[in-house]
Amino acid sequence: MNKKKKKMIDYGRYGYFFIAPFFITYLVFQLWPLINTFYYSTLSYYKRNGREFMEFAGLQNFVNILGMAAGERGYVLSYLKNTLVMWGCNFVPQILVSLLLAVWLTDEKVKVKGTGAMKVIVYLPSVITAASVSVLFKSLFSQYGPITQTLKDWGVLGKNFDFMSSVAGSRGLISTILWWMWFGNTTLLLISGVLGIDPGLFEAADIDGATGWKKFRYITLPLLKPIMLYTLVTSAIGGLQMYDIPALFNVPETGLVGLPDDKTTTMAMYIMRLYNSDVGKAAAVSVVLFIITLVVSLILFATMSDSEDRRMKKEQKQRRKAGGRS
């Protein structure tokens, strides 16, 4: 923190005025609803034939949604699994491709032409409305959609294959959409990470005759770790809230069941399905989601504050390593 700041006791009260709108709004529209959500999660609060039924239920909602009582399935766990599988299958290729592109597009030695235009192009998918993207892919890959048809004509797919009734097909497509939308964003983030590395490190390695791979392995990769971690955590938090794409992709008109076989339903879709008919259960699902998000965020904070301290030490260490081994 900057210690040069002068004391301005007279003006201190303006600080309160200036931050007041933010805090009032946050308390009213975020914190209070959050507290209420916790409260609702302890109620058995549902509708039947348009009438509301409400009574205190303690932790029963949690016991039920986690499948810890007889006759309860623990759907929240299966939807968490769906969410993580679809997110994971998008994230691994995403980080790999982004890493490759980031390194290539910043390589001073082997300059790729048109990097500016390329950055603009790969980022484009992530600004487009996810809803539109989802419907677009749905139309292209539906049972009798153009891509499905063409793949069948080429003999890539069997005559009766249908993405929409195949678990792997539907999940795979949702992951593909996520990947397609976000790999450009991650590429740009990693590029800024690579550009942030002290060029002196690469120069030193060059003098020592290090190969491209070695420079990547011993300088770029370790120094990108913090930003990759950051990407991982923000992407995971975003992924846990996944809604737009699966909610518009393969669901029946009557409700938010991620077809086929409920295998593409996410936590957010579950909340949306219940928010009006079973308030207590929906609130409990929200609380579970909150706790998971909290844990993931804490990991981020731990690693972020950690990495700041270590960065200086590490940089020096890497310098030695990269130079010494070659």
Binding site: S44, Y46, R48, N49, G50, R51, F53, N64, A70, G71, E72, R73, Y75, G114, G116, A117, V120, Q143, Y144, N160, D162, S165, S166, V167, P252, E253, T254, G255, V257, L259, P260, D261, D262, R273, N276, S277, D278, K281
Partner: protein, 450 residues
């Protein structure tokens, strides 16, 4: 280089956008919009009626207007477009009587009419001044559907909906070699025969024509003839044997590639209605009922439809009319309801409009005597010599809908999910049934799985 490309792209997309917007848009009324509010809801004496399609509206615009032109002027019709999300649009408004569009009266589909008649949202018809004498000619199953758990009638129906299979005559001629209704009925006499017929059609057409567009064409014949609801009087979930039969038959049809595996009402399902069965995919038969024939069949079926009874008697769909608790004008509500569902002449007029099979035995006799609507609005295949109303007359008798629950629409959708999972080989039958029970309990926590 980059700038150039960007500006080219930009200009191109802008140009495209501008051309699109510049296209003169004519308010063509060739095709009726599916979703709209007609009338002025802000008028003091407006009377708001809700429905999810224009079925009710057409009757209001036609015979009702003729009978009561002054009352007609006051009616505002809200068409939500699509039964699947009707409830989610209707419920918030029902909870808010101050809303300008709060319905005074609404249409309620069989799959969820029980939810509304058992709610605080609708009035009993007795409170509107409609007596048992008024609806004495109604089919009993429709009265059951419109009654709450205590037996008070709260919704009345203007149509009876006995199920049938609608067969396309030209395709039947080509691939089954007959257009004789009796011979065709033989081909649909039970589920095993239906599967055999499906094979016959498939083999004869080389797969370009299938008996059904999707296996779910047999769904309504089985769910509409259940003897047991989805839960019993203790709110314990029960699965009727028909559900099991449906899933098993669906799997057979899927495994042997006997349908195009479409979902009912989907785009591909519609497309198969108009195919020629040689170059383009076509389905030979669709699950049908009186309203389905005049409301859903494509032009390829005009003068080309033969009706065949389903293998077991069943009903499919139907719309109840109910007046809301805060209905602004119960007199008009009663008038509309009587015209639609009790009044013999009114119901004959409805039949004249769309050839629907009305929920009034006396009116049906009258129509048959007069010989109107014999060709089912022009859909029936003349050479088969069928009479639309006479065909349905025996099928409408003795229908039973006592197993219908308030949650049927959503539960049937959950059943579709499990049926597909079983048919495509994701899981075995027992797992599918267990998963169905579990998902019903998850969706409606007051229904118990154990």
């Amino acid at each position: 280089m980059k700038k150039k490309m960007v500006s080219v792209l930009l200009t191109a997309s802008m140009l495209a956008g501008m051309t699109l917007c510049a296209v003169p848009v004519m308010a063509e009324d060739a095709e009726t919009p599916e979703n709209e509010v007609t009338g002025d809801a802000s008028a003091d004496d407006s009377f708001v009626v809700w429905g999810w399609n224009d079925d009710i509206k057409k009757i209001l615009d036609g015979p009702f207007k003729e009978a009561y032109p002054d009352d007609y002027e006051r009616i505002v019709f809200v068409n939500t477009g699509g039964s699947d999300y009707y409830q989610s649009k209707l419920d918030p408004v029902l909870d808010d009587p101050s809303n300008e569009l709060y319905p005074d009266m609404m249409g309620l589909e069989v799959d969820y009419v029980q939810k509304y008649v058992n709610s605080d949202w609708v009035q009993s018809v007795a409170d509107l001044g409609i007596t048992a004498d008024d609806y004495a000619n109604s089919y009993q199953y429709n009265l059951d559907l419109g009654s709450d758990v205590d037996g008070n009638v709260r919704a009345l129906f203007w149509q009876a909906t006995p199920g049938c299979y609608a067969v396309r005559a030209d395709l039947a001629e080509k691939y089954l070699g007959t257009t004789d209704p009796a011979a065709l009925a033989e081909k649909f006499k039970d589920l095993d025969t239906i599967v055999a017929t499906a094979k016959e059609v498939n083999d004869a057409s080389g797969g370009k024509c299938k008996l059904f567009s999707g296996y779910d064409e047999i769904k309504r014949s089985l769910t509409g003839s259940r003897t047991q609801g989805f839960y019993d009087e203790n709110d314990k979930i029960t699965i009727d044997d028909n559900i099991k039969t449906y899933m098993e038959t669906a799997k057979t049809l899927y495994d042997e590639d006997l349908t195009f595996n479409t979902d009912q009402w989907s785009a591909d399902w519609s497309a198969n209605m108009s195919g020629d069965g040689v170059d383009s995919n076509a389905a030979l038969a669709y699950m049908g009922c009186p309203w389905f024939v005049y409301w859903s069949l494509s032009d390829a079926w005009k003068g080309n439809t033969i009706l065949v009874p389903t293998q077991t008697k069943c009903y499919w769909g139907g719309t109840g009319l109910a007046a809301t608790t805060d209905c602004a004008d119960t007199e008009l509500a009663a008038k509309i309801m009587k015209f639609f569902t009790c009044d013999e002449d009114g119901m004959v007029a409805i039949n004249a409009l769309n050839s629907d099979y009305v929920n009034n035995t006396a009116a049906v006799s009258k129509i048959i005597e007069a010989g109107t609507s014999a060709d089912g609005n022009g859909y029936l295949y003349p050479d088969a010599g069928q009479n639309f109303m006479e065909f349905f007359l025996p099928l409408a008798d003795g229908l039973d809908a006592s197993m219908v629950t308030a949650e049927d629409q959503q539960i049937l959708s959950l059943m579709d999910t499990q049926t597909k999972a079983y048919a495509t080989g994701e899981k075995d039958l027992d797992t599918a049934l267990a998963d169905l029970t579990a998902s019903i309990h998850d969706t409606f926590s007051y229904l118990s799985a154990e």
